[in-house]
């Protein structure tokens, strides 16, 4: 087993353990911190796959944006020192059953499917393709495989989300109530 494979298995172990702690921890603030570790591990996985731009975006948006937003909202709405109530026993038993069934089923399907037998897997010549220049050029090109229309739609979506957040979370005046 080479160093690269060892790095992959360590990274995946780290991602899964911290993800599991993020969904099972009883303190909500610790849960958010475990989620942060898990997302950082996924960024490491993108580095391992040589997708540096996606890894940078993952760190900037998820770790720097979404987790910080979640921590802010925890501080706004919760007493973060208190334990969360334990899940109902019946519900957690059936959740474990459903999740294990789905996992085993999907793994059997993945194992039974022959990926890339046509010789794609070797794929060494991917060096300059995922560079930031190529990504930017194709993202904004208007030719056949360009992505300029989804890009603009996403910008409209972000604007709508921003205005929607302000409208939803705005404080109404007390005399209206």
């Amino acid at each position: 087993m080479s160093v690269s494979a060892v790095i992959f298995y360590i990274l995946s172990f780290f991602i899964l353990v911290t993800g599991l702690l993020a969904v099972t921890s009883r303190k909500i603030f610790r849960s958010a911190i475990w989620l942060l570790f898990s997302l950082t591990g996924i960024a490491g996985l993108y580095f391992w796959l040589q997708m540096e731009f996606i890894a940078a975006v993952q760190i900037v948006v998820y770790v720097g944006g979404i987790v910080v937003l979640i921590i802010f909202s925890i501080f706004l709405t919760q007493q973060s020192g208190k334990d969360l109530p334990a899940p109902v026993r019946v519900r957690s038993i059936f959740s474990v059953l459903a999740v294990c069934t789905g996992f085993v089923l999907t793994c059997l399907l993945v194992r039974g499917y022959a990926f890339g037998q046509a010789g794609h897997v070797a794929g060494g010549g991917a060096g300059p393709d995922a560079s930031v220049g190529n990504i930017g050029a194709q993202l904004l090109s208007t030719s056949e495989h360009g992505y300029v229309l989804p890009f603009e739609v996403i910008s409209i979506l972000l604007l709508a989300a921003m205005i929607g957040c302000i409208v939803i979370a705005i404080k109404t005046k007390p005399e209206n109530k």
Partner: protein
Amino acid sequence: MSQVPLSHVLFLSTALFFIGMYGLFTRRNMITMLMSVELILNSVNINFIAFNKYLYPEKLEGVFFTLFIIAIAAAEAAVAIAIIINLYRNFHSIDVEDADEMKF
């Protein structure tokens, strides 16, 4: 990278997806459910990047889908947190069992 088969990356993303599902089933607090949704979206992103890298290394489609998913996840998290804060203002709780009344 070439020593690890694609199926192992897919096993990792499947496991992460079902960890997120478990959190979504058992948690009743809205913020922790939102965290589970983020885990699920990340497992999908891993799938896109892995397929792009292993099967079609000369194309960039998986990268774009991942970028758009990340942007939509950011917008979704922001709107969800605005709704959670508004709900907390009305019900003084963000447990989904307590939010049983539709009210603006």
